[in-house]
Amino acid sequence: MRAKKSRSKKMSRVLGVFVTAALIAIVGLLVTASPETGSSRLVSIEQLPQEMAQMCASPEPLASGFDGGTTQIASLQTENLFASMMLLQQRGQQIPAAVNEVTRAPEFRTLADTYPTYTSVAVNLDTDEVFLQDNNLWSTRVFNRMDNTPPSLELTQPKRVITGRNTHIQYNNGIYIDPKNGDVYSVESDTGDRMVVFARDAQGDVVPKRELHTIHRSYAMTIDEEKQELYITVEYPPKINVYRKDAKDDEQPIRVIKGDQTRLETPHGIAIDYKNHLLFVSNWGQSMSFDGSETMNGCCRNQLYETGNLGTAKFNSPSITVYPLDASGDTPPLRVIQGDRTQMNWPSNLSIDQDTGDLYLANDVNQSVLVFTGMTYQRGNVPPARVIKGEKTGLANPTGVFVDSKHQELWVSNLGNSSATVYPLKADGNVPPVRIIRSAPRTHLSLTFGRTAAVTYDPNRSEILVPN
């Protein structure tokens, strides 16, 4: 049965490639018929290597960059040729035939991480399932809460994976599980500009139950279940957008926290203390003044952006800003926790123990989890009450945290080694995890790539330099 399915899948891929090739060939003929294109000199012909042949048969697009329209046509293989031609003409970017067209087999090597890179974690306490958000392979992976990868095992397979073009999961950083119905919320940070919501048992290349078109550079999210309000941090221009919990499509926020008095400075993590009606936000400290006097079209979804005022930017130290839960507009924080004693270094996602009010912070570059107590009154340069840090902890660029009050456990997702680690909730110091879910071999260190849109080369050291 499986073999039959696989054969039919292969057949459909081959058919897809054939249709694409036919479209490309026809367009190619039309393009080369143009008087300005001229003819090419064929430089060489060789058999494609296996890797390239596999790639051609891949259901993924060959590349999303525009290449005389051929790629776009590949994505339109089920539509008619006329539509494809119209698209080409509209783009007006046909590349004339090159003087020299090389057709030899390309020789190349690939630098990539083949394992998931986990940015955030959440637990469904009803189904005992852990959800890990993956930034590298663009997936949400679901494991049993009690899964534990022994050192002898290469990795633990997830019980379900949500991934594929229909899911619209891309560089997602924030994840939230609805405590009542188990819906999975996940917000995207870069190329997708969406928050997607899936049913709790969703798997595969599934269409989300609903989507909310979010602001470019959204990072994390949380929900006030009492008021049914959804909070999303936006790194830049810095703000907190508050939506109806069920908001979808192009629905706008019901209120926005933004402005110079808010002291939002590249906000990342967000958490709600329900008991004390407080909102906590972690900030990286890149600050700029926005008086709202200038706006311009943004890069994505034609959103309008406020322009930062010229010459007002500063590098401040990272902070946690605290607001009343119903804050709106240019509201100053009630309190700010900031300074060298806090140990914050690119503070990422936050989670609160609703029983104690303790605030847990994934402290990415400091390779630690910080726990702040007394969060109803703390302010200034206060040290964390507890710090989970050290070689025994297994922490590697932790960016996600989740407090499981029911089982008195703390979950951490590690960007740096494709794992999630679990600790007793009151853990402190250099403590080993009580369990670990690894999605890569024990020795694997993630490349932590996140949209490699640029590259340079250092010939002095023979090194490739890759920014995120």
């Binding site: 590349a63 190349f108 570059v365």
Partner: protein, 264 residues
């Protein structure tokens, strides 16, 4: 998102361990580094910090949470942030200049050793220049030219052009997809990836839709979009950053490095 500059050995492949990573609060790095430049003469790395209206210059061998050795930032710099801020950047190590493109359709040129709140030494921009928003820019020190990518192709200026100057000529259709990604100038060629091919145009050609002189297959794998490129002439290789593909692919392309660049 986790901004970083990761370094890998030239021959690194899948799941290679980075030889070093630059990341953390003290580095001043921010996300959205759509361009990066290495200065091999002075051994420095230059990137933008877009959420802080800043240009950061690091030691070439910077590692860990090492701070930049120089920061260009402040009202005199004319660096605005807007949405993408300091998006595109270039280094001219021969003439000791750092070039920064602006969302306001300008190229800001700074002394390479500029530090702090310093004014640019030249500004190129204005309606006659045809410069778009945050365009990629490169300097051809051999031919003393400044190349600025745009939606319609490659704008070519004298290297020291300033003010509201018209381009010397336009290589129509040349350059990266949509004009908005890294490209390279080498050996009389303008080189950029498009789709699953590497293209090269003759630097001396001009016109509305110029024929490339080379088209070389370069399969980029799944999700490739928003591409970057750099050349390694010593090994006759072209490195392509696949953007959303989260990969770097290195292609052997001797054709670009043979010295033959004209139509023949």
């Amino acid at each position: 998102m986790h901004p970083q500059i990761a370094a890998f050995a030239r021959l690194a492949k899948e799941n290679a361990v980075a030889t070093r990573k630059l990341a953390g609060q003290l580095t001043r790095l921010g996300r959205t580094m759509h361009d990066i430049a290495y200065d091999p003469i002075h051994d420095e790395i230059v990137v933008g910090s877009p959420f802080a209206q800043a240009v950061l210059v690091f030691r070439g061998g910077a590692v860990g949470e090492e701070p930049p050795i120089r920061i260009i930032q402040g009202p005199r710099t004319q660096i605005v942030s807007a949405t993408n801020g300091v998006d595109r950047i270039a280094i001219d190590p021969v003439n000791n200049e750092i070039l920064v493109t602006s969302r306001l359709h300008k190229i800001l040129v700074f002394d390479r050793e500029a530090d702090g709140d310093v004014a640019p030494i030249r500004v190129l921009g204005g309606p006659d220049s045809q410069i778009g928003t945050n365009p990629p820019v490169r300097v051809d020190t051999v031919n003393n030219l400044l190349l600025i990518s745009g939606n319609g192709g490659m704008l070519v200026f004298d290297r020291t052009a300033s003010g509201n100057t018209k381009p010397k000529y336009v290589i129509g259709g040349a350059g990266p997809t949509g004009g908005s990604a890294q490209f390279e100038v080498y050996n009389g060629l303008v080189i950029a990836p498009r789709g699953d091919n590497l293209y090269a145009w003759n630097l001396r050609d001009s016109g509305p839709n110029v024929r490339p002189v080379w088209k070389i297959p370069a399969p980029l794998g799944p999700r490739a979009n928003q591409l970057g490129i750099v050349l390694d002439p010593a090994h006759k290789e072209v490195l392509v950053a696949t953007g959303e593909g989260n990969q770097i692919r290195t292609f052997s392309v001797p054709e670009f490095f043979t010295g033959r660049s004209t139509n023949n």
